[in-house]
């Protein structure tokens, strides 16, 4: 997927001022940057929840801009939004079913549900419980389970590490790697830049709605300026390896 000079915003002003970068097929691309840089706005634009004012977004050679959110889903692009993205008052199983809302074929639907449940045992273990009663980490896994119901080619995650303790974080990141191993492309946004970049094959630094730096995960991680600015001081060699 490629973003070309994307300009987007809400109401009066622009939030993204001409953003361009590539998302490598089969890789994990991580967008990092300070709070308010426009990361979530960028993801909303890709999912057609927000209409870009200029520029184009190409996915497998097809233009994404001008499509409806539903059409983007049907192309195989699914997003897990930033925090609290479960239907709290619905059961875990119903939440996962909602992920497959666009699948009309019952047979396909139950097949997907089986697969998702084998990947995420929590979906069957806590299936009848209200989603809101799960812990933060469990909720994140159910969100992942839900997004896999459409068997997406591109999975977009907005701050998957947010609010998770280190142990849960590892489980969640392992699941991100698993999605890649299953042949999916991932685009994620992380506040926790160091952890996010270490997980990723490619990194993009977004600052004030502009791309500051683009490269492999390691290049961005080891870039001296970036280390200073976003990673909390210079990156120690040991930490970067």
């Amino acid at each position: 997927m490629r973003l070309n000079d994307v300009v987007a915003g809400y109401g009066g002003g622009d939030v993204l001022h001409g953003v361009s970068f590539d998302v490598r097929v089969g890789g994990i691309t991580c967008v990092v940057g300070p709070n308010g840089a426009g990361k979530s706005t960028l993801l909303a634009t890709v999912s057609a929840l927000l209409r870009p004012r200029r520029g184009e977004i190409l996915f497998r050679g097809e233009k994404l801009q001008g499509r409806t959110p539903k059409q983007v889903l049907q192309l195989g692009i699914v997003q897990v939004p930033q925090n609290h993205s479960l239907f709290r008052d619905m059961t875990v199983r119903e939440n996962v079913e909602m992920g497959g809302f666009l699948v009309r074929d019952r047979h396909v639907l139950s097949e997907r549900l089986e697969r998702v449940m084998s990947l995420f045992p929590i979906v069957s273990e806590r299936g009848k419980d209200k989603a809101g009663s799960l812990s933060g980490g469990q909720q994140r896994l159910v969100e992942f389970a839900r997004c896999l119901m459409l068997d997406p080619a591109l999975v977009i995650l907005d701050e998957p590490s947010m609010g998770l303790d280190p142990k849960t974080l590892k489980v969640v990141f392992d699941m991100v790697r698993q999605m890649r191993a299953d042949g999916r492309t991932l685009l994620l946004v992380e506040q926790n830049a160091r952890a996010g970049l270490r997980l990723s094959t490619h990194g993009v630094v977004l600052e004030n709605g502009r791309v500051r730096l683009e490269g492999t995960g390691r290049e961005v991680l080891e870039h001296p300026e970036i280390g200073q600015l976003y990673l909390g001081g210079a990156v120690a060699p040991a930490a970067a390896s």
């Binding site: 999912s47 993205s85 709290r88 008052d89 119903e94 909602m98």
Partner: protein, 295 residues
């Protein structure tokens, strides 16, 4: 004891009508985030449509069906024609509530302009009074209870087991997320307004079948109790609305019987206030509070 049982019996009939109305009202709030104060006027409109049909010679059941369908159409049109356009222009909850209030008044006084301020009643088939455990109910009232139970069961099945019902619940909890899942929010909202319109119609016509008198303010007066029941149960929650209706219905009739009919609204709201003090989200943790969390 005898009289208490009698009033509880009346209370169950009132609770049934409340239940149908409160489910409809609470669904509208859940899906559209709109406190639709015109709901009572829609009930009156349905009751008048049924009156026209009944006066033209149709039996009361056919009139009930036509009245409810009329209310469904009215409800759909109000949302599409008035509420949605206003929602696009304003985000102020207060403005929207004033709009619904205005719409309600227009309907109510429109009806009064046509039919005047007189009372009407339906021609019902011959009924019998049944005695059961100290309660006295007419066959008509028994059927009204049956309609309410049927409506509650149908709504339960719809919300739990159908695609549309699950989508309705999803939109009520988190509209943005529902859109993110590919749920056609607009169609779901339209369907909700049609369904809640049917419920308002059923409530309006069965109300008149029960109290046997109809005028231009019948629905709006009863609507006060519907609000109490829906808020008591946790606004936005259909199951809460069912529970709230039973409490409010029985309390209202028992206090009306022992004290004075004028106490219906007062005791209902006293109960509502006490419950909300103890449990601000209503009996069932409401969709409204879930929404706050989701934002």
């Amino acid at each position: 004891m005898q009289t208490l049982a009698l009033y509880v019996g009346f209370g169950l009939v009132t609770a049934s009508i409340l239940c149908v109305g409160a489910i409809g009202f609470t669904l509208q709030f859940g899906i559209s985030n709109l406190f639709n104060l015109a709901f009572g006027a829609t009930m009156t409109a349905a009751a008048f449509i049924a009156y026209i049909c009944n006066a033209a010679g149709l039996d009361i059941w056919a009139s009930l069906v036509l009245g409810s369908l009329g209310a469904a159409a009215l409800s759909y049109l109000l949302n599409r024609g008035i509420y949605l356009p206003f929602k696009k222009r304003t985000t102020s909850l207060f403005t929207l509530i004033m709009v619904t209030l205005g719409v309600g008044l227009v309907i109510q006084y429109g009806i009064e302009a046509i039919w005047g301020a007189t009372d009407f009643s339906y021609t019902l088939g011959p009924g019998r009074s049944l005695h059961f455990a100290g309660m006295v109910v007419t066959t008509t009232q028994l059927i009204v209870i049956g309609i309410a139970v049927g409506a509650a069961v149908v709504m339960h099945l719809l919300l739990r087991y159908t695609r549309l019902g699950k989508a309705m619940r999803a939109v009520a909890v988190n509209e943005r997320l529902a859109r993110n899942c590919g749920i056609p929010v607009r169609i779901v909202a339209d369907s909700t307004w049609v369904i809640s319109g049917v419920l308002s119609g059923l409530a309006g016509v069965t109300l008149v079948m029960d109290v046997q008198t109809l005028n231009s303010s019948t629905g709006t007066e009863f609507f006060i109790l519907i609000v109490a029941a829906a808020v008591l149960g946790g606004i936005g929650s259909p199951y809460g609305a069912m529970i709230g209706s039973i409490i409010i219905g029985v309390v209202a009739e028992v206090s009306a019987g022992f004290l004075n009919p004028a106490f219906k609204d007062i005791t209902s709201f006293a109960i509502l206030i006490v419950v909300l003090l103890l449990r601000p989200t209503g009996v069932i943790r409401s969709v409204a509070s879930a929404k706050e969390v989701a934002r």
